[in-house]
Subunit: 306 residues, 2 copies
């Protein structure tokens, strides 16, 4: 049985300055933290990119949620660094250092998406199978709504997220919500998931033991770009049959894009994939129309606090 | 009977650089204008704010769609002017001058909103009742979908829009669509309305006469801000009962906002209003949670081309 402790927990909002649910919740909790206090746990709400929040823009110089690379974190500090790189170094000092025993135990990073992803928990690794167990509890806790788990562990795709500073990084992605908009339904969903996650951590720290279990996850498989002309201009849209169908199976031959002249582009991959982040606003600049995933069942061992 | 002519028609996209349907359609039509060509009509597709489009942002220095004031249009040109003011002067030269006989007959200005407004036609004045007649035809043309008409004529609220350069300005607002996202359903709706509008102009120029009729419109009544604390921070969200309910009646006592502590703020105005632009992303900075309107029936006289 593995032993871990979950004593220091941070809640990040505003890693992207136009994703309003996390920004609003974290600002509320900075003013009054009663709602996120749990016995035996230090919970710290924190706005990670305050300048982007002020401007209501995703970022100022560069995407903070891709800025936590070893290179950036070890760069000599100076005024010529992009704002988000300086900010990453500060965050790493407060909540890290990344990869060290001093790092925070858990960081929940609160995000919104324009995609119809519901409440998605994003895990960066299945090394810590205990995390999966925790997620499983959360999944149950917010039933009857489903709470898919996206596992971003991939041999080629590296994200260097803000939350990666913690020992156990957890992204919470809730949508659909336009950038710069606060919707009450999305706000309440995020609030409920966080409540159950913190309740779990309290139970865990009280010594409650959780037996082994199996967990269904969607593992990142590939990225799919929009069709483009030779100048790089987008020449098609996500097909209406695929739009808003995050987490639903896409089979070879299924419609994927609709060209502006009305013709259909079909999926030609091998086997069934489960697309997500479909038509996310912020991913146009990343040449990404959606992410494909594969379903997997992972087995999580028993966990108990240290 | 009034006599008018509709010979020069412009179609504006990108007045806001992150409203993707109009930008995409206008760029398609600049490459190949066959779809918008009509007998006896000069149709000019035009990107109004190319720098904002390039950055995928609403504007660079200031909102172009509020920049067409007499003061801006007559300001001495110079490098120190905000980008959008310079651009307004250029657009006024090409498609105006505003208020002059040389101005374009019609400008369709293509917009998207994050609000659930469907396809809305926006008129700035009911002085030109013939416009209403045209809109009525368009409304019928795109049936069974409804196509509400928003009349922004108001003694206090002045907009100074890009399209106001034309003799007959028509805004087309289609949603819901997040900023920076292109959705196929919204794209197709906009394309269909434009098709029918141009078809109508062709028929009109061929001498088809339209008898008098009555037209239902929503006239702008008031703006409603989010509840705020003494520091100006927003402390509530659009209530779930109101969210996405653009054009539906709001009666005194109906829920309007939901405070972050869960309490409800109710509408306390006099009589029924019809809210629209509910929770539009771009209107947070304008201190506007939604616009209220009143329903009116206007009578449009017969029209025939000059």
């Amino acid at each position: 049985m593995e032993n871990i402790s979950l004593l220091r927990v941070a809640i990040f909002g505003g890693t992207h300055g136009n994703e309003m649910s996390g920004i609003t919740l974290v600002n509320l909790w900075i003013k009054n933290g009663k709602e996120i206090q749990r016995k035996g746990v230090e919970t710290k709400p924190f706005i990670t990119n305050p300048r982007a929040v002020e401007k209501c823009t995703r970022y100022v110089d560069t995407d903070l949620n891709r800025a936590f690379t070893t290179e950036n974190l070890s760069a000599p500090s100076g005024d010529d660094l992009p704002y988000e790189v300086k900010r990453a170094q500060q965050i790493n000092e407060i909540f890290g250092p990344k990869g060290s025993p001093d790092a925070y135990d858990v960081i929940f990073d609160l995000h919104n998406t324009t995609s119809n992803m519901g409440c998605t928990l994003i895990l960066e690794s299945c090394m810590f199978v205990q995390l999966l167990r925790r997620l499983y509890v959360m999944q149950k806790a917010i039933a009857p709504d489903s709470c898919p788990v996206l596992l971003t562990e991939h041999p080629l795709l590296k994200y260097s997220t803000s939350r990666s500073v913690a020992k156990h990084p957890i992204g919470l992605e809730v949508g659909p919500q336009p950038q710069g908009v606060l919707r009450s339904n999305i706000f309440e969903s995020m609030r409920v998931v966080l409540k159950h996650a913190l309740d779990f951590i309290e139970l865990f720290n009280e010594g409650l033991e959780f037996p082994p279990c199996s967990v269904d996850v969607f593992r990142v498989w590939d990225k799919m770009d929009y069709p483009r002309d030779t100048n790089g201009n987008i020449i098609a849209m996500v097909h209406p049959n695929l739009q808003d169908c995050d987490w639903e199976p896409l089979n070879p031959g299924d419609p994927m894009f609709q060209m502006f002249d009305g013709t259909t582009v079909r999926y030609e991959g091998v086997g069934t994939v489960y697309p997500t982040f479909i038509n996310e606003a912020a991913y146009y600049e990343k040449q990404q129309a959606f992410v494909t995933t594969r379903r997997e069942t992972l087995v999580a061992g028993a966990i108990k606090k240290a």
